[in-house]
């Protein structure tokens, strides 16, 4: 409604613009002259004329008088309805009084209208038409049969294929039905008929057609003979019984309705064949027959419901006994209510009760159907996934190994489960829309019209429909958003200790935020649109909200800055939870990312909290790879080829390590002599690992290289002093002391300590 209003407003605006444009165009165009002085005189004379004035007055009065007639107060409407029901009750009592003679009256009218010969001949014609229709249908079936058989006999794994196959099968049935209709009704309508015969034969043909159409639809859902095309989750026997019950009942309804229609025409038309003026009501005789049929139909409906539920109790275990009893009562009550409302001729109420009463079980059935479909899809998917992951156990050795250590099968995450709520919402949404439209049509609420003075019912309807649509759409979007966010979140696995988190880790931060934002937005939008459809002026609320928003925005400027820059840092993927980063002077592992700030823990335990707004630049030590260089000091006489060989061997050993071997991207290798020093050579080695693994590898590398050097007789260089003594006589004690002291001095030279890496 609001949408329509908006569209109309938009159209009006467009028209206005167009008209002004046209007006300017007209101004520009010199072809149309201004009215002459003579015309204006004539116009004023006419306006001053009494007759003209009187006429205009009357028109205005009439318009005034006519306008309020359209609007009836609730009291008047209620009174009208009561009168209607009262008249109906009077009719019913008249019908009761004439109940005994009804067959006679109808038979008499029947005889008067149709001679026996005519009756037989019309039957002949009807048979011929039926044969036409049946022949055409048979013909079309001969060509579609191969396809139908193929559909019925093949197996469909996927629900989509199955649905498509079931729909195709029904479409084929409807093609046949259409051919039947073309053949029978088409042939019928080429001939001119007397009115009564026309009604009679047409009623028969249309009745057959409707019953068959209902049958085809029932087959679409129940498919009693082809279990694999059945859309509803019921068993073979149940499907057959339900299908037959529906078929029988619909046939009875169609028969009763068309028969009463014929009777109505019989009793209201006079003998000459001309129709009596339409008075709306039926003759008491027809009414009595109609009531009789209605009672019969009610009894049959109750009986069929009882039979179906008795069958259901025997053959299905989907529903509990309690639920079954509840549905039985629901359907029985529904039939009774429909009967009562029909009896008192409150048609709108009857259709409302019927559509709402049927919509509830249909909703349930559709839900069950979606559930079933999803279950099947998921089962299929699982079966396929399991087949893919576990190879067929062909050799007994394999099974023995499996028995020894039972491998926990990885949980198979199926991609369909999260779509289930969306599908259910969608179906419910479509159902509600359909129900709303039906009700609107029943009550003739005119939701499609934009009347100036809407009646109470119209207003109520428009409010209800607007609100329902807003809520349903919001619900749909919310379910979609929530389930897709949840799906992403579910797919995210928190990194195990010591492993670098993947790029999806930041989503774990952003998505909950997004979810809250979505919920708040949707909620406020729904509230707004419901309020506006109820006629509350939401402009002040919106204005107030925006003023508040601006105020809060100014007050919390830095907070907003933090949040916004945080979002961009996350989008940039600058850091993830568990990574080792450096920001200005602070270093540590990212421990927690919130909306506003980042917490990093120093490897000595201190926790720093940094608002995102403060971050200018940061260094991430945990990305992709790390190169580590090590140095060994060896004496000058070392065999460098041997060193190279040993380092290579150690590298291979490290790579083969089962714990961290996989993390080594480029294993240990010698870089040769890096520089010469005073007393020794510096041999450089380096390796590349994944971030976080380098410490462990370094530890082992040192250890292994040292052991290998020792085993191969390579000593690490030590600081030593060679004292060269001239002459060959032995040193005295004092001289030896002096020499030692001098050497000590040389060794004790302060060596600048190397950089102690600050590392966790």
């Amino acid at each position: 409604m609001i949408g329509l209003l908006r569209i109309k407003a938009g159209l009006a605006a467009l028209l206005l613009i167009l008209s002004t444009a046209l007006a300017t165009a007209q101004d520009a165009a010199p072809t149309i002259d201004a009215p002459s002085a003579n015309d204006l005189h004539e116009f004023t004379r006419l306006l001053a004329d009494d007759r003209i004035q009187n006429w205009m007055q009357e028109q205005a009065n009439d318009a005034e008088a006519a306008a309020p007639q359209n609007i009836k107060s609730i009291r008047e409407q209620l009174a009208e309805a009561t009168d209607h029901v009262g008249a109906r009750v009077a009719d019913l009592s008249a019908a009761w009084a004439s109940f005994g003679e009804a067959p006679e009256v109808i038979a008499q009218k029947w005889r008067a209208q149709l001679t026996p010969d005519r009756r037989v001949r019309s039957l002949t014609f009807a048979l011929i038409f039926l044969f036409f229709g049946a022949g055409l249908e048979w013909l079309s079936r001969q060509y579609t049969n191969p396809l139908r058989r193929r559909i019925e006999f093949s197996t469909f794994k996927r629900p989509r294929e199955r649905l498509f196959a079931a729909l195709t099968r029904t479409a084929l049935a409807f093609v046949g039905l259409t051919m039947f209709a073309i053949g029978s009704i088409g042939a019928f309508s080429t001939i001119d008929w007397p009115p009564l015969l026309r009604t009679l034969i047409l009623a028969a043909l249309v009745g057959i057609l409707i019953v068959r159409a209902i049958n085809s639809l029932t087959k679409l859902f129940l498919a009693p003979r082809v279990p694999q095309l059945r859309l509803l989750p019921v068993g073979d026997k149940m499907a057959r019984v339900t299908g037959q019950a529906i078929m029988f009942f619909s046939a009875m309804v169609v028969f009763a309705v068309s028969l009463i229609d014929v009777f109505d025409q019989l009793t209201t038309s006079d003998v000459q064949g001309g129709m009596a003026p339409e008075q709306g009501g039926m003759a008491p005789e027809t009414l009595s027959v109609a009531v009789l049929f209605a009672v019969l139909l009610l009894a049959v409906a109750l009986l069929l419901i009882a039979i179906c539920f008795a069958q259901a109790k025997k053959h299905t275990d989907v529903l509990s006994d309690r639920a079954m009893a509840r549905w039985r009562i629901h359907l029985s009550l529904l039939s009774a209510l429909v009967f009562v409302t029909w009896l008192f001729d409150v048609r709108a109420l009857m259709w409302t009760v019927l559509s709402i009463g049927l919509a509830i079980p249909i909703l349930k059935l559709l839900r069950a159907w979606t559930d079933m479909t999803f279950d099947q899809v998921i089962a299929d998917f699982r079966a396929k996934a399991e087949k893919a992951t576990t190879p067929a156990p062909s050799e007994p050795v394999d099974t023995a190994i499996e028995e020894d250590e039972p491998v926990e099968p990885a949980p198979i995450v199926d991609p369909y489960e999260t779509y289930r709520p969306i599908a259910q919402r969608l179906i419910r949404f479509a159902m509600f829309i359909a129900l709303g439209l039906t009700l609107a049509l029943i009550w003739n609420a005119g939701i499609f019209e934009n009347s100036e003075n809407p009646t109470v019912a119209q207003r109520l309807f428009s409010i209800l429909i607007d609100s329902a649509a807003a809520v349903l759409i919001a619900d749909l979007i919310w379910t979609w958003g929530k389930s897709s966010i949840d799906r992403r979140l579910a797919a995210y696995k928190p990194p195990e200790d010591g492993q670098a988190p993947g790029p999806e880790a930041r989503m774990a931060t952003l998505l909950p935020l997004l979810r809250v934002v979505l919920m708040v937005t949707l909620l406020s939008m729904v509230v707004m649109s419901v309020l506006s459809s109820m006629g509350v002026n939401i402009a002040p609320i919106l204005a107030g909200a925006s003023v508040m928003g601006i105020a809060i925005g100014f007050g919390a400027q830095s907070l907003v800055k933090d949040v916004v820059s945080g979002i961009f840092f996350l989008v940039d993927d600058a850091f993830r939870v568990g990574e080792y980063v450096e920001i200005d002077q602070l270093r540590g592992t990212v421990e927690k990312i919130s909306i506003r700030s980042l917490q990093i823990r120093h490897h000595r335990g201190a926790v720093h909290t940094l608002p995102f707004g403060e971050l200018k630049s940061m260094t991430n030590y945990s990305r992709d790879w790390v190169i580590m260089k090590l140095e060994f000091r060896v004496p000058f006489d070392t065999d460098l080829q041997l060193v190279k060989k040993i380092v290579k061997k150690v590298g291979a050993e490290l790579k083969a390590n089962e714990h961290y071997g996989d993390s080594i991207l480029d294993t240990l290798k010698s870089q040769g002599v890096r520089r010469m020093e005073e007393f020794n050579m510096v041999v450089g080695v380096k390796f590349m690992t994944r971030p976080g693994e380098q410490w462990l590898v370094r530890r082992d590398a040192y250890q292994k290289v040292r052991d290998a050097f020792e085993a191969n007789g390579i000593r690490m260089a030590e600081r030593n002093v060679k004292v060269e003594i001239a002459g060959d006589q032995p040193l005295t004690e004092e001289e030896r002391k002096a020499v030692t002291a001098a050497a000590q001095d040389a060794i004790a030279q302060p060596v600048a300590p190397g950089v102690v890496p600050d590392e966790p």
Binding site: D117, V120, R121, L123, T124, F125, L127, I128, F131, F132, G135, L136, W138, L139, Q142, Y143, P146, R149, R150, E152, F153, S154, I191, R225
Partner: protein, 388 residues
Amino acid sequence: MNRAKGTRSGLIVRTMRIWSGLFLLIFVTSHLLNLSLGVISLEAMDAARPYLSEIWASLMLGPLLLSALVIHFCLGLWAIYRRPTLRTNPQDLVQLLSGVIVVPLLATHAIGVASLKINGVTFDYAAATRFFWLAQPQIGLLQVVLLSVVWVHGCAGLFTWLRSKESMRNMLGWIYPIAVAVPVLALLGFAEAGRGVLVDAQAAQRASAQAYTAPTATAEAPQPAAPAVQRVAYQTVKTATSQVIWWSLVLAALTFVARSIRLALQPTQLVLLKHGDAQPITTRSNLSVLDSFKQNHKPHASLCEGRGRCGTCAVRIVSSEFPLPEPTALEMKTLRRIGAAEDVRLACQLTPSGGFLEVDPLYPADYSFKDRDFEQPDPVTAPAEAPA
């Protein structure tokens, strides 16, 4: 009882049934074509009458037609008597019921026309139309019913026969429209002629009402059984007709009774039938394998609806607890034609004597001869490729 001899007769019975039926169908078609000329005019109908309808009552064809009808009817009753089950497929049921009621429906028309011919009354289409639409509309209605029933019965038989012929697979699509067009045109002709007669009668009635107040009955009731020279009395015709109706009905009823007695007396064994990977089905030994499948809603290919013609219901016997009965001559003929291996039998002819039986169908359930245009290996001649 000598089984081979009995089964040889089965082949003869089948051949006789189809050829008598075809002969009758040709007659019906020609008669209906004559009727369909009513779309043009009554005169056209009468002009074509000697060539399309009268010829069948000639000295040579008349007795032939009558004997074909009697043979076909009796063979049909025999088939009903032999049937182990009536609940197989709807088409068979339609064919069976329509076959039973054709004779009672036909009696009035056939005997009436025959008696008129013997009496020397010319019963042309003008008279017939007046009779069927004005004098006796009930009988007219009966003719429409008769036409529908006969045609449905004939088509059911014809197409079952044609579908089992591999060489006809591309022809069928052209024959179907003809099968619809012939009766529809005939009915149209009948209705059109009737409408003409009715309009004429109304005009005459109005004219006669203006001229003198004579009863209109004489004008519109040309009683056909009131000829100048009456060799067969009207009463005799009536009794003959009703006797034919009653006797044929009694015969049909007796057949059904005899069939139920035969079934009640026949001792049967339980049969456990396994079909591919599906659960084994429990059935009785009086049912053929095909009937057992159909009764349990297991789809199985069979183009000729169990008449042992097409060979599409062939199954390979995987295992059988007891030795199976030898194939009859009828079955052997078809098996030989399709070039089947030793262990292949026709499901429609194979009636296991009891116990456990596992079979493997050779053709998919929705098989038709059209599929042969697309496939290369013949599943019958290449049994080695069957899935283990």
